[in-house]
Amino acid sequence: MALLQLSHLTKTFGGLVAVNDLDLEVEAGSITSLIGPNGAGKTTVFNMITAFYAPTSGDVILEGVPTSGLKPHSVTARGIARTFQNIRLFGNMSALDNVLVGRHCRMRATYWGSVFRTRSERREEKASVEAARHHLDTLGLLKRQYELARNLPYGLQRRLEIARALASEPKLLLLDEPAAGTNPQEKVELSQVIREIRDRGTTIFLIEHDMKVVMGISDHVAVLDYGTKISEGLPADVRQDAAVIKAYLGADA
């Protein structure tokens, strides 16, 4: 059974159909990409998976259980983490604190536990800091753990967002255009990091515009155009698909 299953997922805003009857499966342990022209509804799909939007109809099914009715934070607790297209970090917190916030839903410390620094709180806090440093290390940010997030350069902010998402120990990581605004060198490194994360057992589902990145790392690619899935399959097959070429280059191509 697929880790994530989108079944007849539809979202309309007023008269506009943003996502239309989308069926998609993300296999555990895979890197799956969702591509498509601007405005195709990709981020809307992510927003439905993370429960920011309630689907107009259809279901998001994680490990066989529909997530309908859940709040975004519960979805995170169930094992889906995400990053944003326009980076949303906690600017005035240190990089380390950003990642620790990501661990929030895996921590159990209560209000009173925090005030009285109970033994379990201290133990948990210590373990969390270690885990957070581990994630920072994975993304190459350990050296800058005490810097305020807003003072980090753009590329590192993107990485920090991934580290924060990883801190919630997700089964599925949604990356919304992780390579946007990075240079070719950074893109190569990023692809490497994404593979590493997958190899450690986190399934990756990403939206990306950069075809080099998508074709290089994906196991499976789905193409969205005007909210409808027009193609799906192995990267090489999708690249050859006439419908995809038409969607990207216009009717004449």
Binding site: H73, S94, H104, L148, A165
Partner: protein, 434 residues
């Protein structure tokens, strides 16, 4: 008072003798003088500022503190607070009331700082928590409750109950705090979706509604005694020790009631700081700060934003409510006009001027604004005028406040990022030292 004379001349120039206080020529002359003098001063400052004159807070380094910033050192602040009233009593005790008032505001500012500074919820109705605490204490610790019960259920409750319910402050303080915390949650629930200015206006509305209810809840059942307020409120007591007893003494030294309340508030401040400082560097406090920085991202990071926001309101309300109870006990009388919107504004300004999200900032802000404000009570409306001017100047020249919290984090980054790139476990531990 030469200072006052000088201040008066600065404010009115040679026109101070004109009969101001009506719609007349005198006020126009004063206006012209003020526009000329202060307008000129303002322009001069602006021009200087443009030329590179920077306004920064000088780092006072006291000998023996080896580079520590005394205003940031909790121990220094605590030591000052401990001996201050004693020194004042030795020198005549002229400023004791002012000191006590400022102290109460320090407590309020630190409490509000949880809501505004850490969680980023712009609350302009903090006075409501103060009022709820005060009224809960006042109604229970005065004849008010008994008289109302007797008047309403006279066949059940004998008139003798009218002397009030006397309960130890160990019980009453938490009850007042919890009542205000509950009230905070009540206000919090409908406002969860609001942010920024809109939240400020709505909380302001709740604050005013609270006061108007306090003013009118003498009918149909007399709960608050209306505009006259609750009177004959008991002093705090614990065991057999009453805070209002003038015969209290340690050995030959007598302890005036004031001193009891001063140290009680100080104790509450210490407890509050203990709470806030520990929460700030733990799971709960980090979640609050994350909500302040970006609520959507916080929710996605797995934070139950609704519960944590309500928790912040409840925490802020708890300390505000306890402050209210102490206020009610200390003054023996409370009336709706003690709980004006102005109080909320005053406390919020203390938090912002001090620097949001830092405990020392809130405390320093409360002193920086409260001290001159309470010292100049004989200036009547003029002090509000001066308060307003100072507020505008302070905020326009230093919008981040006197002791902002970010600076502390930035400093930390400076001292830690020493180029070795090695993880500094001590640094994280340092953050949690309180």
């Amino acid at each position: 008072m030469n200072v006052l004379k000088a201040l008066e001349f600065l404010l009115h120039g040679p026109f101070g003798d004109y009969p101001v206080g009506g719609l007349n020529f005198g006020s126009l002359l004063v206006l012209c003088w003020q526009v000329a003098v202060f307008g000129g001063l303002y322009l001069a400052i602006r021009i200087l500022a443009k030329r590179g004159l920077r306004v920064s807070i000088p780092h006072v380094r006291l000998p023996g503190l080896a580079g520590r910033r005394p205003l940031r050192d909790v121990r220094v602040l605590l030591a000052i607070a401990l001996i201050l009233p004693l020194v004042e009593m030795l020198t005549g005790g002229y400023y004791l009331t002012v000191t006590y008032n400022v102290e109460l505001y320090v407590l309020l500012a630190i409490g509000l700082n949880i809501v505004v500074g850490y969680t980023g919820l712009l609350d302009l109705g903090y006075v409501a928590f103060f009022a709820v605490g005060a009224y809960v204490y006042g109604i229970f610790a005065s004849p008010q409750l008994g008289e109302t019960l007797h008047a309403t259920f006279h066949f059940l409750v004998p008139a003798t109950v009218g002397s009030g319910v006397h309960i130890s402050m160990l019980v009453m303080l938490p009850i007042a705090g919890l009542a205000a915390a509950g009230f905070g949650v009540l206000i919090g629930i409908p406002t969860l979706r609001l942010r920024g200015d809109y939240l400020a206006i709505v909380t302001l509305g709740f604050g005013e509604i609270t006061r108007i209810f306090a003013q009118n809840l003498d009918t149909p059942v007399n709960i608050t005694n209306g505009p006259n307020g609750v009177v004959r409120i008991d002093d705090m007591f614990i065991g057999g020790y009453s805070f209002g007893d003038i015969a209290n003494h340690i050995g030959p030294i007598s302890i005036p009631p004031f001193l009891n309340y001063y140290y009680l508030v100080l104790l509450l401040i210490v407890i509050t700081v203990f709470f806030v400082a520990r929460l700030a560097t733990s799971r709960v406090g980090r979640a609050w700060t994350a909500i302040r920085e970006d609520e959507v991202a916080a929710e996605v990071a797995g934070i139950h934003t609704r519960n944590l926001k309500l928790l912040a309101y409840a925490s802020g309300g708890f300390f505000g409510g306890m402050a209210g109870a102490v206020f009610a006990a200390g003054s023996h009388v409370i009336a709706p006009e003690s709980f004006q919107l102005f109080l909320s504004v005053l406390v919020l300004c203390m938090v912002v001027v001090g620097g949001m999200g830092s405990i020392q900032g809130a405390a320093v802000g409360a002193v920086a604004i409260g001290l001159p404000y309470f010292l100049s009570s004989q200036l009547a409306s003029l002090r509000v005028l001066i308060f307003g001017v100072i507020l505008v100047l302070m905020i326009t020249f230093r919008p981040q406040g006197l002791l902002p919290s970010q600076q502390r984090q930035a400093e930390l980054a400076e001292t830690v990022d020493d180029g070795t790139g090695l993880p500094h476990v001590e640094a994280a531990a340092d953050l949690r030292q309180l």
